[in-house]
Symmetry: C2
Subunit: 332 residues, 2 copies
């Protein structure tokens, strides 16, 4: 790695002159600047960023803690984060908690030693279910700004970016009842334990109650054979005329299982699921989805965090990114 020192030695001038020349300081003569720049170019000099970080006490790096990246929602959020961070000349260090509290804790602790200027976090399932937030509070106590998205914790005071979980599911349920004229709507969920799952379920229940129907929930958390379970349920409950899935998988599985049972979609059964970009390719008929603007969530998260970093105000806002009901062919 070429350093200022080396350039200085080769040119027989001082380190500080080289530094100033490279930074185009007005105190340096044009001729010296030229000499310096030429050699720097030749030796492919690049200022050592670690040294700059030490000097400035800023890393221009964001720590991103995600439960997983295999779930396309988080993958797309990460995509949004990366693009936006890059635009603002920030790097991201990514840690995957793998839904484990222990791993999440360790990652945050490790990066809290000056490695990052701030965190963007979606907490692990385990952390959320058990309500453990101490490790996140510690980062905030160390004056490292934290932004939480999607899976947030209410006892933490920080900027948050969430989806309108309650409202979007309420709207979708209402759509099934009043537009699609369905009356026996099954809610299928494998994220019942999570805050987002609970909120979504509440949205469903509110719409059901307002329309004086009965709610019907099939919980699939930790279930092995999702497909068989849905198949058997549909077989045993022929009166079901709509399915609302709270995730990006079970809706598609439901369509396949319904077809296997000879049901026509959407004539006999309407299906709405959750989805993101590119999700709709995978079912026939194309599934109607509650489209979460995952990319936008990532983008927004970075912008809010950087804003906090550059103004060092306290983060207190919760931003809601609205979802959109995107009709495919699995509803009438």
């Amino acid at each position: 790695m070429t350093t200022l020192k080396e350039l200085a030695k080769r040119l027989n001038i001082s380190i500080s002159t080289v530094s100033k020349a490279l930074n185009d300081s007005h105190e340096i003569s044009d001729i010296t600047k030229k000499r310096v720049n030429n050699l720097a170019e030749e030796l492919n000099y690049k200022p050592n960023r670690i040294a700059q970080q030490l000097k400035n006490n800023k890393t221009k790096t964001i720590g991103v803690i995600l439960p997983t990246v295999i779930n396309p929602f988080f993958a797309e959020v990460l995509h949004g984060i990366e693009i936006t961070a890059t635009n603002f000349n920030y790097d991201i260090i990514v840690c995957l908690s793998n839904e484990s509290l222990e791993k999440e804790k360790r990652s945050i602790e490790l990066l809290s030693n000056g490695s990052v200027d701030g965190f963007i976090i979606a907490v692990a399932r385990e952390s959320q279910v058990n309500g453990v937030s101490k490790h996140i509070k510690e980062a905030i106590d160390r004056k490292i700004p934290v932004l939480m998205f999607d899976r947030v914790m209410h006892d933490i005071t920080c900027n948050k970016v969430v989806v309108d979980d309650f409202k979007s599911v309420y709207t979708a349920t209402d759509f099934l009842i009043n537009e699609d004229k369905r009356s026996n709507i099954l809610l299928v969920s494998n994220i019942e334990e999570l805050s987002v799952g609970k909120l979504r379920t509440l949205g469903y229940e509110k719409a059901i109650q307002e329309n004086e129907l009965t709610s019907n929930i099939l919980k699939l958390d930790n279930v092995e054979n999702i497909d068989e379970t849905i198949y058997n349920y549909l077989k045993a409950n022929k009166s079901i005329d709509a399915i609302l899935s709270l995730d990006h998988i079970t809706g598609i599985v439901a369509i396949n299982m319904a077809k296997k049972l000879g049901l026509k979609i959407p004539e006999d059964l309407s299906v709405i699921g959750f989805g993101y970009e590119h999700t709709n390719l995978l079912s026939s008929p194309k599934i109607s989805i509650i489209h979460q603007k995952a990319h936008q969530i990532g983008e927004m998260s970075v912008k809010l965090l950087l804003q906090q970093l550059n103004t060092d105000n306290y983060g207190l806002e919760t931003t809601i990114v609205p979802s959109e009901l995107k009709l495919g062919r699995s509803t009438k």
Copy 2:
């Protein structure tokens, strides 16, 4: 941030004594160690990693450059990389090229200033199609070890981790011919332009030729309506009795379209696609896949890179991670 200096001041001892005490040096008395450790604990002291990096001229960080993370293959590789890197106490800085050469180039250049100890790269589609590799050579010239996986470039000398693209597709084709007794096998591909796509196609063609059949390729690169295209093709070519998909999407689409045409799977049509963990949930019948060990590719990549980092030998090896034909219910 608590520093050594602050601890030293509070305890009225020198900085180096504090440093040694914290590192459990034998030169320091137990009593001093105790005092130091207690205060460090109390003030939640953690050594500033940036300073350590500057001192050691090592970042313990790997730069990971991926085309995207929305494709589940790369998502799962990233997962493998993250877990393995963490195990070895390395962080990862992730950059997404978004399939753009320009972005890839910029990311590599930016991180080549001392930010990372090495790179793990899967090149962008654009870089590969145009055969542009200068930016990667530059990193290697700067003595930053590079490991390429999956999408590799043959004019670059470095450690590589690849899938057995040729062989796995050859095997799958042969299976369709000799086990499933199919004779009219359609190859469906939307990655024809990529090195992996080309290799896979060659595997298909070899098996076809060996069995004296005729090859049949439906190229879907940059096609908008994949589903309609496949539907129309199947409709116009009723003699097709098997489909081999080179990616993780079109196989599932093919199953759905075939069912729509009234074809029975696997009786009328066998289907094999590519897939990773959790892929098989999404079709009915469950799709038979060439299972790429994406997680293992990530794991292997990290291990090989770290080995190179710690022994500073030249990277010259190409490691092949074998895939596995995982039969579902879409083949006989």
